[in-house]
């Protein structure tokens, strides 16, 4: 038997969805195969994965991953592989800590909360943009692949943050823990709703969902804003058009007199800025304080967002769908750890298996395989 790989003349309508679904199923099967090999019950693992898809606790991850997935989509569309989301996300928290705990700490220098929150968002955006801009400079002017540079910058960001938490940012009210102080309540962006959590399971789940939505309202607004911005960027903004052209044919840009280097700088910077904005809002909505050795405690959104963006096949419409899948899987990884079915490797294996099957089956969208006997 022979297999022949042929380029499709037209791409069937629902192929993107089918390809994503196949890669997901295959990825989960690969993961299950590994878990069986190490002697875990596949049924127990599957139940935990399935449960996470209907759990209200995925709300926070869902919003963050929509925002970051869109941010990465912008650079990926330009074939600029920004793998440095982690670094851009965490480096953006530095000005947030500085502003809320030191410069405008309500204990000794109170300031209007909306102004401080705005400043945190603005400076976080700038920091994220700056971090991505460094990698863009390497790519544009030194012709060095952005993948290793953005990855290395992730480590640099972790260590800078660690240095600050160990030194100048070290908290005074931390009960012996090595971390920053808690960001004052007036700067936090959560809305607390108290519901009775009574009734049948569906009612309880809906009440729980309402509580989560209210608590993470800022992340919800952020996800919507970044999604709309990304839509506008690709639909109505000239730079968005240039970005897409850079992804498919950079020499065409040159031919029409557009500086390829400027597009690289702009695209990466915008991508980093949106990630920075997400990092700063996440600081005020969820983190509240930053622990020492952040690399050991990170949620890994920078890497998960790559999965979101790739699973969407770089299609903005699919970003919420893939963000939902990835946030459910991340929570499945945590649920498996809680259920005593493994540790951090569960999340790594699940992400790795799905990314791998996705990367391999992805070609079936543009190509077909024919069997000859």
């Amino acid at each position: 038997m022979r297999f022949i790989v042929l380029r499709r003349k037209t791409i069937p309508r629902y192929h993107t969805w089918i390809s994503t679904a196949i890669s997901l199923i295959l990825g989960i099967l690969v993961y299950l195969f590994i878990t069986i090999l190490v002697g875990r019950s596949p049924l127990e693992v599957l139940v935990n994965i399935a449960r996470s898809f209907i759990s209200p606790s995925i709300v926070k991850d869902f919003f963050v991953l929509i925002a970051m997935g869109c941010a990465l989509l912008i650079s990926f569309k330009a074939a600029l592989w920004n793998i440095g989301g982690e670094g851009q996300f965490y480096i953006a928290t530095i000005p947030g800590i500085l502003l809320t705990l030191f410069i405008f700490n309500p204990r000794h220098n109170p300031a209007p909360a909306p102004l401080v929150i705005l400043l945190v968002a603005l400076t976080g955006t700038i920091m994220g943009a700056f971090w991505a801009f460094i990698a863009a400079l390497f790519r544009a002017y030194l012709k060095i692949d952005e993948v290793p540079v953005t990855l290395i910058l992730n480590y640099v960001a972790y260590y800078i943050l660690n240095y600050l938490i160990f030194g100048p940012f070290k908290g005074r009210y931390v009960y012996g823990y090595l971390r920053t102080d808690e960001i004052p309540e007036i700067y936090r962006l959560n809305v607390r709703v108290h519901l009775p959590m009574r009734g049948d399971p569906l009612q309880v789940a809906l009440q729980n969902l309402t509580v989560q939505l209210a608590y993470y309202i800022a992340l919800l607004v952020l996800a919507v804003l970044i999604y709309v911005f990304t839509w506008w960027f690709f639909k109505h903004c000239r730079i968005g058009l240039y970005t897409k052209i850079h992804g498919s044919n950079p020499s065409y840009l040159q031919a029409v007199g557009v500086s390829v280097n400027h597009i690289i700088l702009l695209t990466m910077t915008i991508s980093g800025a949106l990630i920075g904005l997400t990092g700063s809002i996440y600081l005020l909505s969820e983190l509240g304080r930053i622990p020492y050795e952040i690399e050991r405690q990170t949620a890994g959104y920078g890497y998960l967002a790559i999965l979101v963006s790739w699973l969407s096949l770089l299609d903005l419409k699919m970003i919420p769908f893939s963000a939902y899948i990835v946030s459910a899987l991340r929570n499945a990884g945590i649920a498996l750890q809680v259920a005593g079915l493994g540790g951090v490797e569960q999340s790594l294996l699940l992400i790795g298996a799905i990314l791998l099957t996705y990367s391999i089956t992805r070609f079936l969208v543009e190509y077909e395989v024919r069997f000859e006997w």
């Binding site: 022979r2 297999f3 022949i4 790989v5 042929l6 380029r7 590994i34 190490v38 592989w81 793998i83 390497f138 002017y141 030194l142 012709k143 060095i144 993948v147 290793p148 540079v149 990855l151 290395i152 910058l153 480590y155 640099v156 260590y159 800078i160 660690n162 240095y163 160990f166 030194g167 690399e295 050991r296 890497y303 790559i306 790739w310 540790g343 951090v344 490797e345 569960q346 790594l348 294996l349 992400i351 790795g352 298996a353 990314l355 791998l356 996705y358 990367s359 391999i360 992805r362 070609f363 543009e366 190509y367």
Partner: protein
Amino acid sequence: MVIETTIILRLTAAFTTMYLVALGHSIFEKSGILNLAIDGVFFLSTGVTTAVVVPLTWLLTARGLSLVLSTTLAALTAGLATAIIGIFMAWTLTKLPISHGAVGLSLMFLGYGLGIIAGYEVRLRVGSIRPYTYPDSLGIYLAILAITVLIGLLTYFFIFKTALGTAIRACGENPHVALALGASVLKTRLIAGLLGFFIMGVGASFFVLLWQKYWDIKTYLLGYGWLAFTIALAAGRHPIVLIPLAFMFGGLVEFSITLQARLGLQADLAKMLPFIAALILMIIYGSTKLRRIFEPPGSLGKVFYKEERTI
């Protein structure tokens, strides 16, 4: 005198690890396949080494055989385990029109996960891995150093002076032309994958067996694979040029703690130094003639697709 010996031992171990990983990576990338799996493969090798060396040492020392034999066999086993990934990457990325970057990054995550699965149980059982590693003997370290340099020289000869080496370079520059000239792109890349990842795996196993004499699941957060990636990039994937760079980086990583004490640096700043050095090295590489001299293979990371492909 004791301090000098310790310095030699640690520097030798750091160099050996970094050099072999960068060398294996270079052989593979010379064939035109972008290897972003390097950091995951590095960690996977350390996990497999931990899993293998302990039972092997129990087995062999009970039969009166030496610790050096079990550690060496563990290193070779780790090399074989990672070679499977090399073969998988070479086959998949040559036969199917798929992204090198995506496959590499996904294998990186899988490498982290599988590495933890491989090493965790054994590490938990024995507590410390040190009794199962190479003894702190100058003779053993220098012998390993000599073998490492010899492997480097042989690789140079293999890549630049043999027909197979020329085929590897041709596949890296332009696989279509290499095919037209009669080279089998698949076979060539499979050999590069097998050899490159085997050397990479052995090199990474020395992280546990020779250099740090320590393993823990959080080793995957160190990012040393990416440092080896940078070394290979800046040395133009050249086996001889890699030697001074691996020596420099190995030294920098190893002595960042000494530097920390001497310069009064905080630990996290010291840990950051090799990464900053990697970025500086990239700037030097990208902005000088080095870039033209050590240009990457012309088809590195490019999808190899022939119309009407038969697999």
